[in-house]
Symmetry: C2
Subunit: 597 residues, 2 copies
């Protein structure tokens, strides 16, 4: 049985670096202790390793199909694994105790869930989406809505979805056309088509709670007209039991490069498949007020984006561990300069370029894991920080880090998966080795939950200029504090200098980009900005990790030293030409006539 994720690294990051155990001093987490955190991590690691990882390939090879009765058929093993997960109580992790939750810190919950994401991205997506769904309802729903629709999801009895995209509107949510028609009884009827709905239909649970963005008739155009609705697959009776079938129809399944174990659907709302209450139209319940849909959704977006980033990290990380395992045992060739062709072959790790590929992966995935757990820690801080200043600081940092936390691992931990294949040579390109699937699975992450391009516009077009650059200033101040600590120690002083120079330059370039005040010019090369900022931030995360290592020495800590050295020598300098390009306000892309493409 292969290792899905390094528990020692998770523990190091959570407890040595982020001091997660100190969270138990806060009222919300007072019932917890390092022991209960360990128990959650132990349980997650065990279930992920024993129940999720072994079926990951099976789910890939046996995509969902629609049976003759119109129902989605999934491998039985998926339902069994998810039942074990549900019975562990883990879905309730972060929720309030009075909703049946465990009131776990998000930090610990994310660390624990990463094991599932590493073991099987496809299987993990069902609880992943459901948690986000319930989270949104708990935040914005009425107590009755929470009780009726969120609690069964928290208990793992039902699953939930997020229905945002439509065939003609993905990144551009303002252009959705799903209509909601007000009814006399206060409910709405929805009509329209939703695309890319993961978990959109299946028989894994007795009900599915769809959270649907739609426009009430007469609403203003664009994002201001968007409202959020609860649309259950089956209506729910007053006693909480399953009622009539709602008018939500499965139109088709999408067939993707990866994530094949997740049903991904095209759904029609209100096409007349069912006639709840005697009429066609999908019965929906408004969440909050009309027109608040996108704001409500965005309120949860940080957590969703951080979880997507964590999914990318998890896939990259498990791929790295698989490649490492292979490289230590597979023999091939001899090192350059070896003279005796009849000497035994050496392990792959004896080849410098294989070590380079492994160390690069390590720097990406452990850097990514650090970044994502740091962001998770900010979410807890934002919610439970000691005072408003601490909470605001966490909020500001989170805002500016979120697009990076989503995008950077989607790019670099996918690059890690690419290297994991390369370490395996021809074998890695076959479906007999897990790294092949990880690569295909991870390719989704730069797309969903806001593409790379969208994240780059969010970072450069909103986050770093918000409040006159206040959020960016908070990040810079935070990094500078690390730099100051690192400058004081021999081992880290040179890294501190290198990082400091890049942070200063990033701030300077940000100013240069916006100096003219023209968004078209400032944002023309936003993707380059996102990449440069990401590398600066991850270099900082590595320096933080090295400071947490301190004076300790063993193979694990030497690994942290080597990965930091790699990141600063091979990766961080990549930002210099990127920042130069940005500073030049290059117009190549801006002025390009599409006709010449």
């Amino acid at each position: 049985m292969s290792v899905v994720l390094s528990r020692r690294d998770v523990d190091f990051l959570l407890f040595d670096w982020l001091k997660a155990a100190e969270l138990t001093e806060r009222e919300r987490y007072a019932e917890h202790s390092r022991e209960t955190f360990d128990a959650v991590l132990d349980l997650s690691e065990t279930i992920a390793t024993e129940r999720f990882a072994p079926i990951n390939r099976l789910l890939d090879a046996n995509e969902p199909v629609v049976g003759e009765d119109g129902k989605v058929v999934l491998p039985a093993e998926l339902g069994e694994a998810l039942a074990v997960y549900r019975d562990s109580g883990t879905p309730a992790g972060v929720f309030d105790a009075d909703l049946g939750g465990m009131q776990l810190p998000f930090t610990v919950s994310q660390g624990a869930f990463a094991f599932f994401q590493a073991a099987s991205a496809a299987a993990a997506s069902y609880p992943f989406l459901s948690t986000g769904n319930a989270n949104l309802l708990v935040e914005h729903g009425t107590p009755e809505q929470v009780q009726t629709y969120a609690v069964p999801v928290i208990e793992g009895r039902w699953y939930g979805t997020m229905c945002l995209s439509e065939p003609q509107a993905g990144s551009s949510l303002g252009d959705i056309t799903t209509r909601a028609v007000r009814q006399e009884d206060g409910t709405y009827r929805l009509f329209g088509t939703k695309m890319w709905i993961s978990g959109g239909d299946h028989e894994l649970t007795e009900n599915i709670v769809h959270l649907v963005l739609a426009k009430v008739e007469g609403a203003p155009p664009g994002v201001k007209g968007i409202s959020l609705f609860i649309v259950p697959k089956h209506l729910v009776n007053e006693d909480g039991s399953i009622g009539e079938r709602n008018d939500v129809a499965l139109v088709g399944l999408n067939h993707k490069m990866g994530w094949r174990g997740t049903t991904n659907t095209l759904l029609n709302f209100g096409e007349g498949l069912a006639t709840p209450g005697g009429a066609a139209g999908a019965v929906g319940h408004l969440v909050g007020d009309e027109g608040q849909g996108l704001a409500q959704m965005f309120h949860m977006m940080n957590e969703a984006r951080i979880s997507v980033g964590m999914g990318a990290v998890a896939l990259g990380y498990t791929g790295y561990l698989h490649a490492l395992d292979y490289a230590k045992t597979r023999t091939q060739g001899r090192i350059p300069g070896a003279k005796d062709p009849s000497a035994p072959m050496v392990p792959l790790t004896a080849h410098a370029d294989v070590r380079r590929m492994l160390l690069a992966q390590k720097s990406y995935v452990e850097g990514g894991l650090g970044l994502l757990l740091y962001c998770a820690r900010l979410i807890d801080e934002q919610a439970t920080g000691a005072d408003e200043a601490a909470r605001t600081r966490a909020h500001d940092l989170l805002e500016v880090l979120t697009p990076i936390a989503k995008s950077w691992p989607s790019q670099w931990c996918l690059a890690a998966n690419d290297l994991a294949i390369q370490v395996h040579g021809g074998y890695g390109y076959t479906r007999d080795y897990a790294v092949e699937q990880f690569y295909r699975d991870n390719r989704l992450n730069p797309i969903h939950e806001g593409t790379h391009g969208i994240q780059s516009l969010d970072l450069l077009g909103r986050k770093v200029i918000a409040g006159g650059g206040a959020w960016l200033a908070t990040l810079v101040e935070t990094i500078k504090a690390t730099v100051a600590r690192a400058a004081a120690a021999d081992e880290t002083a040179d890294y501190a200098k290198q990082l400091d120079a890049r942070v200063d330059r990033l701030v300077e370039v940000t100013g240069q980009l916006w100096a003219g005040g023209d968004p078209a010019v400032a944002l023309a090369n936003s993707a380059v900005y996102l990449e440069a900022a990401g590398h600066v931030v991850v270099a900082w995360v590595w320096l933080e990790q090295l400071l947490a290592v301190g004076e300790r020495h063993d193979a694990f800590f030497e690994g942290k030293r080597a990965a930091t050295r790699y990141f600063f020598a091979f990766e961080l300098p990549k930002v210099d030409p990127q920042l130069d390009l940005l500073a030049s306000l290059d117009r190549t892309v801006l002025d390009l006539d599409p006709a010449s493409l």
Copy 2:
């Protein structure tokens, strides 16, 4: 029907830039003219577009299986497409007229074959491998061997394979264990297992000619003990008709991420499946002398590697054209700063970041196509250059460019396929869009025919130091000649300066790496060297293209200008931190203890 490759670009590169029509002045190509070249290109474009591209997805979705009779079952459409290809006479392209060939220049042949590689990598692989096989036999076989085994392959009646790798020996060919036992009649009997044999078994042709590396009993260890054998699937009677079944057994099919339409096999030689001549053992015919196997194979390696590079370019190129087509028609959102949310959505090309992704693809695939056609032109020059100096110069350039021509497109045209998916958003991640398959197919290219790491050792460990650096000097001299021409024109002078600085630095760093004379130190970061050298070379190819554009202006030529601008602004500067790292003789990877990974 979608465009598989830009014919205008192929024509521009072949005829405007590389002056391929002037080859007809040479004796070998005297029967040809621009018109016959055009006819071959026309025919290839038509067959590729009408017969190969339409079945590409079908081949992906219907992998070969082994039927109950032990025979490989492939979709009938594949055989039909390949029959059209065979009947066109194209397989005989580059071969001598007296072998039934067309004596086409390799340059034109490669340009023509790229259409097939773009239309369906999997389908094209059958003739691709067969051509390489016949090529090798023509070069090294006896006239009788050529007549018996190569001519039917040239005629497209039989297919050929290359059997090098074994399960335990891929990159390390010196460690193969397949044995060849000398027989009294001068033939050999082979015993062993060969892995990753593409086209290793099928019913597409009545015979398959395997070219097999094996060691004659008593041969020295390592590569010096390797010999090359012809091992036909069916023995061949004296009159050329099909004889007894040889002792070559299909053990299994490999299931890959992509290239699913190509049978990729594990073959056993001499396991006793058949008993030709009454005894077990695969009957083989020695090619040339014993112990010459690897040298013979390497003699063909440049062409094979250039063809693999071209395959990577072709997949990247067709992906780019698909993404461009999509981006021009798909609408989404509005440009930054647009105020009216009810205004119609804009085409994807209106978004700067989408233009960036398209222009990046263009710079990779058109740069790659230029590089590969240039190398093909060198192969012709090496064979038919006016005098020995010209032929030597072509040879030296080819030696140093080959690892780059193989690796650079395998990396960057795969990156283009990645961007092509990204331009499509969620749709690009589904198997309904061709770009999804191109990405999976292209992921093979950094692995087969020498991995990225192997190419980097070849470049830095052999090619740039050969003859005291003579080959590298020839490349530098060639690039400097371009720089001198470019320096004289306003439009290109600045590019000339930028390129010149990088070339000088590359030479300097090469010297620094080898100054200590320690291969372990020099080669520790060879992959970084390969990448830096590749970008310098492709920047040169772009400058050459721009010089070939001259004063002409239309959308096509403006596109060349924009892509050159992009490559020099966004790509070439990436080599600076790479060269700095190399110059520092960084030991991070060299000194890394695998235990700390």
